[in-house]
C-alpha cells in the first residue's frame, strides 16, 4: 500500500517536472528556422501534397490565389507561410474573417513542410530577430514611433477601422520579424529599408519585455492606458474623500 503511494508520488513528480520543462520551453518558444538542406526537396514534396489538400481551395494552384477567397502567396513566401501557420491563423474557416491568433492547427513537421513548399517559389525568406542583441529602450522608441499607433504602447492591441489589432504578449521574436516583413492582413509592411535588422532586434526585445513589464511606479492596471488609471484614481479618491467628510462631520443629537 505504502509502496504504491510512493510510486504514485514519484510518477506525479515526474509528470510535474515534465510539465515544468515543457512550459519553460514554451515560454521561450523559439522554433528553429526551417532547415536549408538537401532534404528540403523531399520536405517541399511533402508540403505540396499537404498544400493540395489543405490550402489550394483558397490559395489556388501554384500559390496564385483565388479571387475573393485567398491571396496569392508568391510575395509573402516562406515568411508569411510560417507566420500564418505557426500562429494558428491558417487554415481559416471563412476567408472573409480576420485571421486571428489561435493554437497552431498543424504539427511542427507539417508546418515545416508547407513552409518549404511555399518557399520553393521564392518570395520572402523566413526572417529572424534576436532580442538578446536588441536594446529594450531603443526598441520602445522605435515601437512607439512605428507600431504603437495600432498595437498601443504596451503592445496590448487595439483596433483600426476594419480590423482588430492583436496584443503581442504571446508572440515569439521570429513572429515579430515575420509580421514586420510580411505585413499580415491590414498591417503595413516594414521592410529592411523602413526597419533595418538592428531596429527589428530592438523591437523584438521590447515586445518580449511587454509580456512581463516591471510596472515601475506601481500598479499596471492591465497596462491599457490612462482611462482605467483615471477611473481607479477617481473611484479610490472619491471613497477616501467620503471617509474624510464622514470624519469631519457631526451628527445632531
Amino acid at each position: 500500500m505504502r509502496r504504491r503511494a510512493r510510486r504514485a508520488a514519484f510518477a506525479l513528480a515526474v509528470v510535474c517536472a515534465g510539465l515544468a520543462v515543457w512550459s519553460a520551453a514554451a515560454g521561450g518558444r523559439q522554433q528553429p528556422p526551417p532547415a536549408r538542406t538537401p532534404s528540403d526537396a523531399a520536405l517541399a514534396r511533402r508540403g505540396r501534397d499537404l498544400y493540395a489538400g489543405t490550402c489550394a481551395t483558397c490559395h489556388g494552384e501554384n500559390l496564385r490565389g483565388v479571387p475573393g477567397r485567398g491571396p496569392a502567396l508568391l510575395r509573402g513566401g516562406a515568411a508569411a507561410a510560417d507566420f500564418y501557420l505557426s500562429t494558428g491563423r491558417m487554415p481559416i474557416a471563412d476567408p472573409t474573417d480576420e485571421p486571428s491568433r489561435a493554437e497552431p492547427q498543424m504539427s511542427g513537421a507539417d508546418i515545416a513542410a508547407l513552409v518549404a513548399y511555399v518557399g520553393s517559389f521564392g518570395g520572402l525568406p523566413v526572417p529572424s530577430a534576436d532580442p538578446a542583441r536588441g536594446n529594450v529602450a531603443r526598441g520602445k522608441e522605435t515601437f512607439t514611433e512605428s507600431c504603437a499607433g495600432c498595437h498601443q504602447v504596451m503592445a496590448r492591441g487595439g483596433i483600426v477601422t476594419g480590423a482588430f489589432v492583436p496584443a503581442l504578449q504571446d508572440v515569439t521574436a521570429r513572429q515579430v520579424a515575420e509580421a514586420a516583413r510580411v505585413g499580415p492582413y491590414l498591417m503595413p509592411v516594414f521592410d529592411a529599408g523602413r526597419l533595418p535588422q538592428r531596429d527589428l532586434d530592438d523591437v523584438a526585445a521590447y515586445v518580449r519585455y511587454t509580456a512581463h513589464p516591471d510596472d515601475r511606479g506601481g500598479w499596471g492596471i492591465g497596462n491599457i492606458g490612462p482611462v482605467p488609471e483615471g477611473m481607479v484614481t477617481w473611484l479610490l479618491a472619491a471613497v477616501a474623500l467620503l471617509g474624510i467628510v464622514r470624519a469631519l462631520g457631526e451628527r445632531a443629537p
Binding site: 475573393g68 476594419g162 503595413p188 500598479w219 481607479v232 479610490l236 471617509g243 469631519l248 445632531a252 443629537p253
Partner: protein
C-alpha cells in the same frame, strides 16, 4: 490585480467603519464626555488660530507656486503636487477652523414662520460670529493670501486658450523642391519606400519643423496601378508614393495608423486612420474621408523624385492643415 483592488477597498471600508464606531453612544454617556453641542461654544484657542493661519499661508503659497510654475516650468508632476498640496492645506485649515476657532452652535429651526425679531437675533449672532478670536487681522490676512493664491491658480490656466494660431495653419513650410527627411533628419530615398509601407516625414533644413503644425507629413506607398487620384493630381504620386499632412482634419490629432491589405478582396482597402476618433482616409483617392467624423480630406503634398533619387515636394500642400476650427481660410477646403 483584483485581489489588490479588494484589499484597498477593504482597508478603506475598515477605516470608515472605525470612524463610525468611534462615535460614543447617544444618551447620558455622551453628555458626560462632551459638552452639549446645543450650547454655544466659543473657540478662544490662540494656538489653533496660529495653526490655521499657518496652513492658510502655506496653502496660498503653494497655490501661488502652481500659478508661477505653469508659466515658468510647466512640469506635470510638479504642477499636480503643488496644487494638490495647496488645496489640502487650505482644506485642513478650514477643517481646523471649523472645529477649534469659530464659535460652534447647533441651531434648530422652528417650524413656525420666522418673525422680524428672530431675524434681528440672527443678525446679532452673525455679528458676534467673531467672538473669542483674538488675532482677527492675522486670520483675515492669511485668508486673503489663500484666496489670492487660489484665484491665481485658476486664472493662469486660461492663458492656455491663447494666443490664437493666426495664419499658422495656412503657412506651411512645404515648397517646390524641398526634400523630405525622416524624423532623424535623413533624406528619404524613393527606392527605400516599399509598397504597403508608411513613413513619417518632415521638411529638410527646417529647425522649427517639430513645432510647426503644417510640417509633419506621412508618406505611404501603394501599388501605382490602383491609384485613383483626381485628374489634376495625376502626377503627384511618383511610383505610387503619396504624401499627406499628418494632422487630422477633424480634431488635429496625429494620423499614425496605416492599414494596407494583403488581400483587398477579403479585407479592406488601404487607408490612413486617425487613432483619436477613427476617421479613415482613402489614400488612393487623395485621402478623402470614408469613415469617422472628419469631413475634409487630408491635404496632399505633390511629390517628385530628384536627380539623386530622393523625394522632394513638387509644390505646396493642397489645402489648409488641420481642423476647420483652426482658422481655415481657403474657400475650396470648406466642403
Amino acid at each position: 490585480m483584483r485581489a489588490r483592488v479588494i484589499a484597498v477597498l477593504a482597508v478603506i471600508a475598515g477605516v470608515v467603519r472605525g470612524l463610525v464606531r468611534r462615535e460614543p453612544p447617544p444618551g447620558l454617556a455622551r453628555a458626560e464626555r462632551e459638552p452639549d453641542p446645543r450650547k454655544r461654544q466659543v473657540g478662544a484657542d490662540p494656538r489653533a488660530e496660529v495653526a490655521v493661519a499657518a496652513l492658510l499661508v502655506l496653502g496660498g503659497a503653494l497655490a501661488f507656486a502652481f500659478a508661477v510654475l505653469i508659466a515658468a516650468y510647466p512640469q506635470t508632476q510638479l504642477l499636480g503636487a503643488t496644487l494638490a498640496a495647496g488645496l489640502a492645506c487650505i482644506g485642513a485649515a478650514l477643517a481646523l477652523a471649523s472645529s477649534r476657532v469659530v464659535p460652534r452652535e447647533v441651531d434648530v429651526e422652528q417650524r413656525h414662520p420666522v418673525a422680524e425679531e428672530v431675524d434681528e437675533e440672527l443678525t446679532q449672532e452673525v455679528r458676534e460670529g467673531g467672538a473669542g478670536i483674538s488675532r482677527r487681522r492675522l486670520l483675515a490676512g492669511a485668508a486673503g493670501v489663500a484666496g489670492a493664491g487660489i484665484a491665481g491658480a485658476f486664472v493662469m490656466p486660461l492663458t492656455a486658450l491663447g494666443p490664437s494660431l493666426g495664419d499658422a495653419p495656412n503657412d506651411s513650410p512645404w515648397r517646390r523642391g524641398r526634400r523630405l527627411v525622416d524624423p532623424e533628419g535623413r533624406p528619404l530615398r524613393a527606392a527605400d519606400i516599399g509598397i504597403g509601407s508608411m513613413q513619417n516625414a518632415l521638411p529638410a533644413n527646417d529647425p522649427s519643423a517639430l513645432e510647426d503644425l503644417a510640417a509633419p507629413i506621412v508618406v505611404v506607398r501603394v501599388d501605382p496601378r490602383t491609384l485613383d487620384l483626381p485628374p489634376d493630381r495625376r502626377t503627384w504620386a511618383p511610383n505610387g508614393i503619396l504624401a499627406f499632412s499628418q494632422i487630422c482634419t477633424h480634431a488635429a490629432c496625429a494620423v499614425t495608423l496605416f492599414r494596407y491589405p494583403v488581400d483587398e478582396e477579403t479585407s479592406k482597402p488601404p487607408g490612413l486612420v486617425c487613432p483619436c476618433h477613427y476617421s479613415t482616409f482613402d489614400v488612393r483617392r487623395g485621402a478623402v474621408p470614408v469613415f469617422g467624423p472628419a469631413v475634409r480630406p487630408l491635404p496632399q503634398l505633390p511629390l517628385a523624385i530628384d536627380g539623386e533619387g530622393f523625394l522632394v515636394a513638387n509644390g505646396p500642400l493642397s489645402g489648409s492643415v488641420g481642423p476647420s476650427y483652426l482658422n481655415v481660410k481657403r474657400a475650396k477646403d470648406v466642403k
